[in-house]
Structures are given as C-alpha cells and as structure tokens.
C-alpha cells in the first residue's frame, strides 16, 4: 500500500550515468537496506523518489503515486538526506516549525518529535552549536514530523555515537513493525546487517542484488563478503 516502487530508473548527469535501469521495491513493514559503494547512485535514486531530481527514464512511485502528486507529502513520506540542511542561526524548534507551517502540521507535533529524537533539551538552541549527531537527530525529527508511512534515510547513523546508533536501530525497527516502509541507504554493513529485513545492493547505478537479507546470511561477515563480491568492478 505504501510500498516504494522504483522501475527502470535512469539518470545521467552530463556524461556520467548515475543510475542505470534501476528496479526494486521496498515493502511496507520492512526495513530495506539500500547498499552500495560511494558514487553508486544511492543518493540520486533517493532524490528521484523524492521528486528533487528528474529521471531521464523510468518511474519512482510511493504507494502508486509519484512524490509530486502526493496530497500531503510530509504526512506520507519523511526523509533525511543530509545532516546539514539547517540554517545555523535558527533554533531547532523553529526549524521544525518552519516545516510544520508549510505542511499544515499542528505545532504540538514539533515538541513531540523533539522528544522522540531526544532533543527536547536542545529545542531552543541555535543549530550552529549542534554536533553532527544532534543534526542527524534533528533531521530525523523533521522526517517524523508528519507521522509518515514511508521513511527514506540516507546514512542516518553518520555522526551518531554508539548509544545513538543503538537507539536508531530500535527506532527504525519499531517504525517498520508499525507497518511503515523504511529505506536506509548506508555503507555501514555491520549496522545494516543488524537492522534490515531486505537489502538492495547497487553498484555503478545498477542493482546487483535485491532480496531478503536471509538469502545472503546475516551471520558473521556474510553481508560484507557478498557486498564486496557484488560490487567489485567488472573489468
């Protein structure tokens, strides 16, 4: 119902083909790990799904609808794309209120999500003084603001301390167990091995593997060796 379906997606920047005929589906109720080396097209794919980048060919649908046709995007999809989309002089609570205003989300949600990501105590501080981990948490708060059925997260563990990573793992698990679709782009394989139900492994803009993590085996270094084999340059 709220699955994310990417079909035959292709995107070229100048002479570089960032995404090549990419096809995969992320199911509701599952955490889908979106894995690939740097420059493999993960972020570009997420940006196409979110309507920020226009594909040359193919479709990206959320619950059967492209992002820019969603009736209220922030209530359907939450995204964390970079840990730095903040005005340094704006307070955390104000950052979220700007987004809540635009999406018509009641103000009470702002304080709810600040509590949910553990930033209640920093709500009135300017983002300038935030650590990378705090910025990640604020980005997550923004993604959760509209209580969306779909979450797209690009390297959300980046900058989090071990306690933060454990907390994030629990959060993502919980969100998926509530029936939401969770996509996590990452190259921290050990983390994905602990969180994801399904994995999509991409390299050079193409899908190399898509399926349940159990098919690869989450034991020991199974994911890492599969990843390295699947993404190795092919002469």
């Amino acid at each position: 119902m709220s699955e994310v379906k990417v079909h035959d997606l292709t995107k070229t920047f100048g002479r570089v083909t960032a995404v090549r005929a990419m096809t995969f589906t992320a199911q509701a109720g599952k955490v889908t790990g979106f894995l690939g080396p740097n420059g493999s097209g993960k972020t570009t794919t997420l940006r196409i799904v979110l309507g920020l980048v226009r594909p040359d060919a193919g479709t990206a649908l959320i619950g059967g609808v492209p992002y820019d046709r969603l009736a209220s995007p922030r209530r359907s999809v939450g995204a964390v794309l970079e840990a730095n989309g903040f005005h340094p002089g704006r307070r955390a609570r104000d950052h979220l209120r700007v987004l809540a205003d635009a999406a018509g989300i009641p103000r009470i949600r702002v304080d709810e999500v600040l509590g949910q990501v553990g930033l209640a105590g920093a709500a009135d501080r300017r983002v300038r003084g935030f650590s990378l981990g705090m910025r990640q948490r604020l980005g997550l708060a923004a993604a959760l603001l509209g209580d969306p059925q779909v979450l797209l997260l690009d390297e959300p563990a980046n900058g989090l301390d071990p306690a933060g990573i454990a907390w994030l793992r629990g959060l993502l698990r919980g969100l998926a167990d509530e029936g939401r679709t969770v996509i996590v782009a990452s190259h921290v394989l050990s983390e994905v091995a602990q969180t994801a139900d399904h994995v999509v492994i991409v390299s050079a803009g193409q899908v190399r593997f898509a399926g349940p993590l159990s098919e690869i085996g989450a034991v020991g270094n199974a994911l890492e060796s599969a990843f390295l084999k699947l993404t190795a340059p092919t002469g």
């Binding site: 570009t44 940006r47 920020l52 730095n84 005005h87 209120r97 205003d101 635009a102």
Partner: protein, 246 residues
C-alpha cells in the same frame, strides 16, 4: 498558498541576518541626507529636498540583497531540500517567497521613508531652511521610493533563484549597480541607458525625475522597474521548476 506564506515568514522571523541587513537601509538614509546637507546642499532649494527624500530609493540596495537571500540563501544552507520536500510544487514556493519578500520590502521602504522625513525635517529646521517641496511631490517621491524597495526585493528573489550561488549572486548584483550599468549605459547611449534597472529605479524614486536630468519621468521609471521585476520573477519560476536539486 497560505501555509507556504506562513512558512516563509517564519523562516525570516526566526533568524537575525535579514533584519540586520534591512536595518542598514534606514541607516543609509540618515547618513545620506546628513551628507547632502553637510556638503553644502541648499536647504532653501526644493530640488535638494527632493534629493534628500530620494535616498529611500537608494536604500533599496539592501532589499535587493535581502531578496537574493530568499532562494540563494536556501541553497547556501541546504534548506532548499526540505523546502521542496514540503512543497514539491516549486512554483508555489517561489510565489510565496515573492509575496513575503515584496511585503517585507514594502515595510522596509516605509521605515526608510519615515526616517527620511524625520531626518530631513530635523536638518531643515536646524539649518533654518523652509521646507518648500510641495506635499504632493514629497509623497510621490516617498511613494516611488517604497515602490523601488518592493521591486528590488522581487528582483533579488529572481536573481537568487537564477544564480543560486549566494556569493556570486550578491557580487553580480552589486557589480551591476556600481560598475556594469554605467558601462552598459555608455555603450547603448543615454536614450536607452535611462531604461536600465538602476537608472529606472532612480527615476521611480524622484517626483522631479525627467526634467533636466538624464532620467526617465517617474512613471516611466516605475513602469520599467515593474517590467524587470516581472521578467526576473518569471525567469525564477521557470528555472526553479526544471532544475535538479542535488
């Protein structure tokens, strides 16, 4: 549309930068009028009074830069991603920005006008001059000045959306005003030069423009400026809709 306008307003009201920038406008008016009187401006000459009030249009330099921040500032800080996630209809985002920035530009122009009137009155009474500029011409000068502040804010929004790189956009706008328009004016001849944006803004901000000066009549300047504002707004809209946000 209303939620986006509210969001744009909150973006402005929750940071300090834009207000410090806009505060420079009235300060420039105070300094400019003071300089005019101190450098020997004749306080009995209505033309000098008009020139004093016309500083309101000069203060629009700051609403221009203010406008550039609307879109280019969002690219600078990366907040543009979240803005377009909230509203994939980017045309509506640009429209909301134009509305809010034009309204704030108007407010800045009104503050500059009030300051211009007060400072002019103070200097004229200090120097024992009689205020001879007709009320109608005073209001037309100030009204034109406010209009220039609005138009420059809108043009700034357009420049920022076209260029996106904040530093380049501001440098280009300032270079145009300080240097390039003068050179371009010499190349195209004074007949056409009067229609260039900064020259048009000077005409729009003077009730006695036209006359002996090198400027268009006030209504002509205002019309030309409105044309530039529309062109930049449309260009901002078209480019913003198409571009990838990477």
């Amino acid at each position: 549309m209303l939620p986006l306008i509210r969001s744009e307003w909150r973006k402005l009201s929750t940071v300090r930068g834009p207000w410090l920038l806009l505060a420079a406008g009235p300060l420039l008016v105070v300094a400019g009028i003071t300089g005019l009187v101190q450098s020997g401006g004749d306080v009995h000459d209505p033309a000098v009074q008009s020139k004093a009030l016309a500083h309101v249009a000069l203060a629009a330099l700051f609403t221009l830069i203010f406008g550039i921040f609307a879109v280019a500032g969002e690219y600078r800080h990366g907040t543009v991603t979240d803005t377009f996630l909230s509203s994939p209809g980017r045309g509506r985002v640009v429209t909301a920005k134009l509305a809010v920035y034009a309204a704030v530009g108007a407010a800045a122009g009104l503050v500059s006008s009030a300051v211009a009137l007060a400072v002019t009155a103070a200097w004229w009474s200090a120097k024992g001059g009689s205020y001879q500029l007709s009320a109608a011409d005073s209001w037309r000068t100030l009204g034109g000045g406010v209009a220039v502040n609005i138009a420059f804010a809108a043009i700034g929004v357009g420049i920022g959306a076209l260029v996106r790189n904040l530093a380049v956009a501001i440098a280009a706008a300032l270079a145009w005003i300080a240097l390039v328009e003068g050179i371009a004016g010499q190349l195209v001849g004074s007949g056409l030069a009067r229609w260039l944006p900064f020259s048009a803004s000077q005409a729009a901000g003077r009730a006695d423009a036209g006359g002996a000066s090198q400027l268009l009549p006030q209504w002509g300047g205002a019309l030309a400026l409105a044309g530039y504002a529309v062109v930049f707004a449309v260009a901002a809209m078209v480019t913003t809709l198409r571009r990838d946000v990477t």
